[in-house]
Amino acid sequence: MSYAVKNVSQGNRELIAFRIGDQEFCVNIMSVREIRGWTQATPLPHAPPYVLGVINLRGAVLPIVDLSARLGMKDSEPTARHVIIVAQVNTRVVGLLVEAVSDILTITDDNIQPVPEVSSELEKQYARGILAIDKRMICMIELGALFPEKESEAA
């Protein structure tokens, strides 16, 4: 905890960057519990299309969300090379299916550029900033906005 506090005070952030299709995204490393390989999920009836199902994470039932579909991009077709980022979102733990984890970034707040004005509501909803690193563009997303506490995920 004190470590995190120190980081914040210096304006340092650690982020995990991952790839979906040809785009890169990143989330705060503090919300990531673990990263694991793809295993076949048990589908849930009447689930929204981006919920692939549930898997067994050491005795806990973990819902798997296709992040690509959740972000409004095309549905992923999970392969053995896909990975699941197990992330803590508010009180829940969610598995995020992504193509690959690419990087761990340590940045300061100066590196974060504001999200440009775009017409799409969806991007505005989750994007919290844009990073330019080695000529790559990485979009920082806010998991709390993607999976709000109150709203049921079916909505």
Binding site: L44, P45, A60, P63, A154
Partner: protein, 755 residues
């Protein structure tokens, strides 16, 4: 252990005592006249008072004292426990519970109510006491004076000293006409108490060797401010009629004689009664025997005796309380003696306790349960991989595994049993609500409970109380008619509400049945139309109308009362039941009453399930729901209407339900001949044949919550982890059956949309 922990133990015990008190009173109410029941009731109040005294909870002590006094009248057969008397007592039990809660959580209590009850209780006790003394040949002096002399802690809360009848003591003098009379003067010094001796015990021993008449001298008792709680202020004058010699009497004080001033002299029998200059404070020594004390004692002495009954905890409490020195004078004076008394009474208390219990932190149990759950899954995985790698099935590994399986199962059963609790405490709370609300609305209602020993997980019990309270209030307020209306309708003027609990399909089923007027469908419909819940021309079945009462913002009560009917009625109940993963439904017959049925999961429990395949997915169907399984033949399948199919089973027709389609796993109907039909009994009572593709086997599975990380899935009760490590879903049979009746599986369909 610090003071707060001790206090917490006291409050926990209070809860138990209050439950005991209530169930005892209810038994009496049902006509039980067993003296043991009366004693149990008395003991409960007595123990609460004792502990409360040690903690200086004056309001509680004051009320318990009055209550106890009245109960003692019942115990000594001076007051007949009629229905009216018991009504007051049940109310008093409620107030006592309120006071206990207030003392714990710092809330406040309806003072007017408790004061009113104190008056009623006093009236009961007094009324009988006066009659009793009128019958007695020589009326004995009233003890009002000495009781007042002992500092009564809370006069402002309505506590008034009560005049007692002393008939029983008068009897002593008449009866004891044998042996010599000795006059003993006994003044304990401070050292006597600091050495752990107890004056009351000495007096009791004295009483065992002959007939005693004991008088306590309170003259030395200083004002409250100047009192030293550890000092000894009392002295006793005892006249003893006994056949024993003076030496025998001195032997009683053998271990205390250096710490007290003791005088023993023989006197003439005739003169002793008039010689006492002090106001006599009779002291009932039976308090120190196995039976708890009746009310005729001086305040400090009785507090001491009580601590004895309260047992070991009171001893600790008293010891701790001594350090605090915050007590009222009465309690403080008691402290010095309490520890010793408690020690002596420990054996008695231990003998009285039925079955030994320990208190364990819930977190520890939870952790254990989780670990055992993991163990079960792991064991299943292990045996599966052994089976896959060993085809002979006779190896020693297999035998060991079987044993392991049995052991795991046993461990799991025992661990689950730790958390399972009977629903009794919740049901008991309901009887109070029925009483209070019925009183408020002027109805006469009887609550009958059944299956209160049905066990369910603690977490469910904790969350059950709120919705149940709401429903009980509703039943009393809206369900049951007024006595006049009931009589006009040819019913018993006393309404009955029946609350039952039972296990059904791996869930707990709680039913609330009232014999009231039932749902007034016309009014409900009109109300729903007025409130824009349904369209005016909506064509609804009776069942749909009944279920309108669960719609948000619905209330049928003509006048808004403070009991129910603020428009936050049944929809709140429904939501809280659903939050528990449960369901609620209503059925009603006009003029005969309504039945609310709640079905709740036994969370964390394991269940025996049938593992089946549906559209390539593995599902678990709770075994308890399955009546039988059968392989349908083409000749048994009958089409019914456009989409429905029925299966004939021994000449009765039963709708076929395609599980795969209802769960949206496939869009087309499966061919019934290729699958297996599971005949299930649903909550509604009807049978349905669930179509699945194949049966894999039976297995005990650990229920894993889907809600923890996801959300409730309609048609699915929970998830589990199978031997191969994959998650399988547990079918919610009732929801699937309901869906097959045309109710959508989509959660929370807005009623406005259907209208």
């Amino acid at each position: 252990m610090d003071m707060n922990e001790i206090k917490e133990i006291f409050f926990q015990e209070c809860e138990e005592q209050l439950a005991e008190l209530e169930s005892g009173l209810l038994k009496l109410n049902d006509g039980d006249r067993d003296p043991e029941t009366v004693n149990a009731v008395f003991r409960a109040v007595h123990s609460i008072k004792g502990g409360a005294g040690a903690f200086g909870l004056d309001d509680l002590v004051a009320f318990a004292h009055v209550f106890e006094t009245t109960l003692d009248c019942v115990r000594s057969n001076r007051l007949e426990p009629t229905q009216d008397v018991l009504k007051v007592m049940l109310k008093s039990a409620d107030v006592l519970a309120d006071l206990t809660n207030a003392a714990r959580d710092g809330g406040c209590v309806d003072e007017a109510r408790s004061r009113g009850l104190v008056k009623e209780l006093e009236a009961l006790a007094n009324g009988e006491a006066l009659v009793a003394s009128a019958e007695a040949p020589k009326p004995t002096p009233k003890a009002a004076e000495p009781v007042q002399a002992a500092p009564a802690p809370t006069d402002e809360s309505g506590f008034q000293p009560i005049p007692f009848s002393f008939d029983s003591f008068g009897d002593d003098e008449v009866a004891a006409e044998y042996g010599d009379t000795y006059e003993i003067s006994f003044r304990p010094r401070r050292e006597l108490f600091s050495k752990g001796n107890e004056a009351a015990l000495l007096l009791r021993d004295l009483s065992r060797i002959g007939e005693v008449s004991i008088n306590c001298d309170l003259d030395a008792l200083p004002a409250l401010e100047s009192m030293d709680p550890e000092e000894s202020y009392f002295s006793w004058k005892i006249s003893l009629k006994t056949v024993k010699t003076e030496d025998d009497i001195r032997a009683v004080f053998e271990f205390a004689e250096w710490d007290c001033d003791l005088e023993v002299k023989a006197v003439e029998a005739a003169s002793q009664a008039e010689e006492l200059p002090m106001v006599p404070v009779p002291f009932d020594l039976s308090a120190l025997d196995d039976v708890p004390a009746p009310a005729e004692e001086s305040e400090p002495a009785r507090a001491a005796a009580e601590s004895g009954t309260a047992g070991e905890d009171a001893k600790m409490a008293a010891a701790a309380a001594r350090v605090e020195k915050k007590e009222s004078a009465a309690a403080a004076a008691a402290q010095t003696t309490a520890a010793a008394a408690a020690a002596a009474a420990q054996t008695t208390a231990a003998a009285a306790a039925a079955g030994q219990t320990i208190r364990v932190d819930l977190d520890r149990v939870d952790r254990l349960i989780n670990l055992v759950g993991e163990l079960v899954i792991n064991q299943a995985m292990l045996s599966q991989s052994v089976i896959e790698n060993d085809t002979t099935g006779t190896s020693s590994i297999n035998m060991g595994l079987e044993e392991l399986q049995q052991l795991t199962r046993e461990i799991q059963d025992s661990v689950m049993a730790i958390r399972a609790q009977p629903v009794k405490p919740v049901f008991q709370r309901m009887s109070r609500i029925v009483r209070e609300v019925a009183d408020m609305v002027g109805k006469s209602i009887r609550l009958v409970t059944e299956g209160e020993n049905t066990e369910v997980d603690k977490t469910v019990i904790d969350k059950l109380a709120e919705p149940l309270t709401h429903m009980i209030r509703n039943a009393v307020d809206h369900g049951i008619e007024t006595p006049e209306k009931r009589e006009a309708a040819g019913k018993d003027p006393e309404g009955t509400i029946k609350l039952t609990a039972k296990h059904r399909s791996g869930r707990i089923l709680i039913e609330l049945v009232d014999d009231g007027a039932g749902i007034n469908r016309e009014r409900v419909k009109q109300k729903a139309i007025d409130n824009d819940l349904i369209a005016p021309d909506a064509n609804l079945t009776d069942e749909e109308i009944d279920n309108l009462i669960f719609a948000p913002g619905f209330s049928t009560a003509d006048k808004i009362s403070d009991i129910s009917g603020r428009g936050v009625g049944m929809d709140v109940v429904k939501r809280s039941i659903q939050a528990l993963g449960g369901r609620i439904s209503i059925s009603s017959r006009p003029g005969q009453g309504s039945t609310f049925t709640m079905s709740l999961p036994l969370t964390l429990a394991v269940l025996d399930g049938m593992v089946v395949t549906v559209a390539g997915q593995t599902l678990v169907v709770p075994l308890t729901a399955i009546v039988e399984t059968l392989q349908p033949e083409a000749s048994a399948i009958h089409s019914f209407g456009a989409n429905q199919r029925l299966i004939s089973i021994r000449n009765s027709f039963c709708p076929l339900v395609d599980v795969g389609r209802i769960l949206n796993f496939r869009s087309a109907h499966a061919n019934p001949m290729e699958g297996v039909a599971l005949l299930v009994e649903s909550e509604g009572g009807g049978q349905r044949a669930l179509m699945v593709d194949a049966i894999q086997g039976q297995r005990q599975v650990v229920i894993k919550s889907l809600e923890a990380n996801y959300t409730h899935v309609p048609g699915i009760a929970a998830a589990t982890i199978l031997g191969d490590g994959r998650v399988a879903l547990i079918l919610d049979v009732d929801a699937v059956v309901a869906a097959s009746r045309g109710h959508s599986l989509k959660p929370e369909m807005s009623l406005a949309a259907t209208g």
